[in-house]
């Protein structure tokens, strides 16, 4: 009698908590399904053509999304290029170099960078960063303008401003993961390097090498963040769909076009085209995040067997 009560109790407990867990999984699947369902008109109408054409003209009913993919990838890659060395430097400084009393405040400050809402970044971007970028662009010498990378009118808004603001926003994410990963490197790695006469940097390089997969994961995680960032980029990138290498020209991203045009989309085809962009953004970030998590996981797994193997060796040494 008692046993059976315990058993039904366990049954309900597991069933109910399990149902909620299932709900979370269903939710994620539902996002994918809903995005495909709500973009069917555009998928049927344009097919792959959607991603191969450059004209985006809602009035004429022409929808080509290539410039948005370009803008998203280009701005995120640029942001990664700027933020990765800085984020790594911060992670190394906090986990390897700085005195213990500085660690907590520094961690707090970098986390603060992640806590600031993206709309505040955007506001600051419009009124402070964009004028600054414009003055940089005005001051660009003539010979530099000849390079396609720096051609274009000095508007201030454009790819450079977007990449800069994105890199600031991504730094806390990649640096905090890189810090965790570096913490997972066994102290013996560094001690071994020092024992062989390594300088401080050479010992750090050993630790970095040991942690390389996790660090790649950290950088990818930042990339995923940059791809999906909406408000700050929308406010400074200039919102003009074109494929261009120039840092000075205004461009457009996938997230930005959804944010700008979604409420104004009057006909269904326009709305479905926007949702299709959202669907592809969903898929891209999904893949990037999965790869990044795989890297970070493999780093964590690699550590465990070694830690387990350690005690017997120590026991042998004392014996």
């Amino acid at each position: 009698m008692l046993l059976s009560k315990a058993r039904t109790d366990e049954f309900f407990f597991r069933g109910i908590t399990g149902a909620f867990a299932l709900l979370v999984i269903i939710g994620v699947v539902a996002i994918g399904v809903e995005l495909v369902r709500e973009s069917r008109l555009s998928i049927q109408e344009f097919g792959w053509q959607f991603w191969q054409t450059d004209t985006w003209n809602p009035v004429a009913g022409q929808f080509g999304a290539r410039p948005f993919i370009w803008g998203t990838l280009y701005s995120s890659l640029l942001a990664l290029l700027i933020s990765t060395p800085i984020a790594l430097g911060i992670a190394i400084f906090i986990s390897e170099l700085c005195p213990a009393w500085m660690r907590w405040p520094l961690v707090f400050l970098t986390e603060l960078l992640a806590a600031i809402p993206s709309i505040v970044y955007g506001l600051w971007g419009i009124f402070v960063l964009v004028p600054f970028v414009r003055s940089l662009e005005v001051a660009t010498p003539e010979w530099m303008r000849a390079i396609p990378l720096f051609s274009g009118p000095p508007l201030g808004v454009g790819m450079l401003a977007a990449a800069l603001i994105l890199s600031i926003m991504v730094i806390p994410f990649s640096s905090s993961v890189a810090r965790e990963v570096l913490k997972a490197v066994p102290q013996a790695q560094r001690e071994g390097a020092y024992a062989l006469g390594a300088t401080r940097w050479e010992a750090i390089r050993m630790a970095l090498f040991y942690a390389r997969t996790g660090i790649v994961g950290a950088v990818m995680l930042g990339f995923g963040r940059a791809l999906g960032e909406t408000m700050a980029v929308t406010m400074v990138i200039g919102n003009s769909p074109q494929i261009n290498w120039s840092l000075y020209k205004p461009q457009y991203t996938m997230a930005a076009v959804i944010a700008n045009e979604f409420t104004e989309a009057t006909d269904d085809l326009h709305l479905h085209a926007l949702i299709e962009i959202g669907m592809v953004l969903f898929i891209i970030t999904l893949i990037v995040n999965m790869i990044s998590r795989m890297f970070i996981w493999s780093m964590a797994r690699q550590r465990k067997p070694r830690a387990a193997a350690a005690p017997p060796v120590a026991a042998k040494a004392t014996a």
């Binding site: 809903e34 995005l35 909406t230 944010a259 409420t263 959202g278």
Partner: protein
């Protein structure tokens, strides 16, 4: 010898560069906080907090409706997310290692990485389209979806930190698993879970993108969750991109309010965490 000196020099240079990169990251942080404070304080006043937006072209007015709206929408999000997050977190911790636990953990991490604008599109599809109406409720759904993975992962991690001897003690006294979890393990982890909820709230209170086409905006004071509602973040966005000096001023004041809310939440959470760690070490 020369090579040795070179190695030492290189080491110093790189150590210096690492320190420099910390400074490079702190400069924008300082600049942002400086501008938000200096621009915001001058326009943040009682009228801003208590008045309604002024008609177009008229200076003055405030964001009272947006502040209330933000509270309502974030609150709705929390109402959706807290039960789902905590209960699925309990499953992930109690049945760790089962296939469903791994799957739900994976789903939560995936959800956490989904761009907020995409969450907005999804919420539009399930909570706006069927009713042909933007609403505070739809905004709450969007924010709730973003909160679930945050709350779930915190709950799971904190439940695992509770010493197993506590649960075993309860089980040995004849408690069922459900009773052990709800009366012994969960209360022990509760302060930490509340901290996690606070942090999640701080994060979603600053979200704009998922609200643009779910909660939309409203020029009037509204507490009806079936109607569109104004929120602080969307209002700041609208004012920031409008060509109107007075609105820009208000956008800065709104940004200051937002930063103040977010910072207060994270500071509170941090103090609570520090205190808990001290308690744990003490015992």
């Amino acid at each position: 010898m020369i090579r040795d000196r070179y190695r030492r020099l290189l080491s110093h240079v790189i150590v210096g560069l690492c320190g420099l990169s910390v400074l490079v990251a702190l400069v924008p942080l300082a600049l942002i906080l400086f501008y938000v404070l200096s621009q915001g304080v001058s326009s943040l006043n009682w009228a801003f907090l208590t008045r309604m937006p002024a008609p177009v072209g008229e200076p003055g007015g405030g964001m009272a409706n947006a502040i209330v709206g933000s509270l309502i929408v974030s609150g709705l999000g929390a109402i959706f997310a807290i039960p789902i997050g905590i209960i699925s977190g309990i499953y992930a911790a109690e049945y760790a290692g089962t296939r469903l636990a791994n799957a739900v953990r994976f789903a939560a991490d995936t959800l956490n990485g989904v761009p907020s604008i995409v969450i907005g599109v999804f919420a539009y599809g399930i909570a706006v389209l069927p009713f042909r109406q933007f609403s505070a409720l739809a905004g709450g759904v969007a924010l709730g979806i973003m909160m679930v993975p945050l709350i779930m992962r915190t709950t799971e991690e904190l439940l695992r930190l509770v010493p197993t001897s506590l649960k075993e003690g309860a089980l040995a006294l004849g408690a069922t698993r459900a009773r052990a979890v709800f009366t012994v393990v969960l209360p022990a982890a509760l302060p930490g879970i509340l901290t996690g909820i606070l942090l999640a709230l701080a994060r979603i209170a600053g979200e704009t993108a998922p609200l643009l086409f779910t909660a939309f905006n409203n020029r009037y004071f509204s507490t009806d969750i079936r109607q569109p509602i104004s929120t602080l973040t969307v209002q700041v966005y609208t004012y920031a991109i409008a060509p109107n000096e007075d609105w820009h001023r208000q956008a800065w004041a709104g940004a200051l309010t937002l930063v103040a809310i977010v910072l207060t939440c994270s500071l509170l959470a941090r103090i609570a965490t520090a205190r808990m760690e001290k308690l744990q070490r003490g015992s």
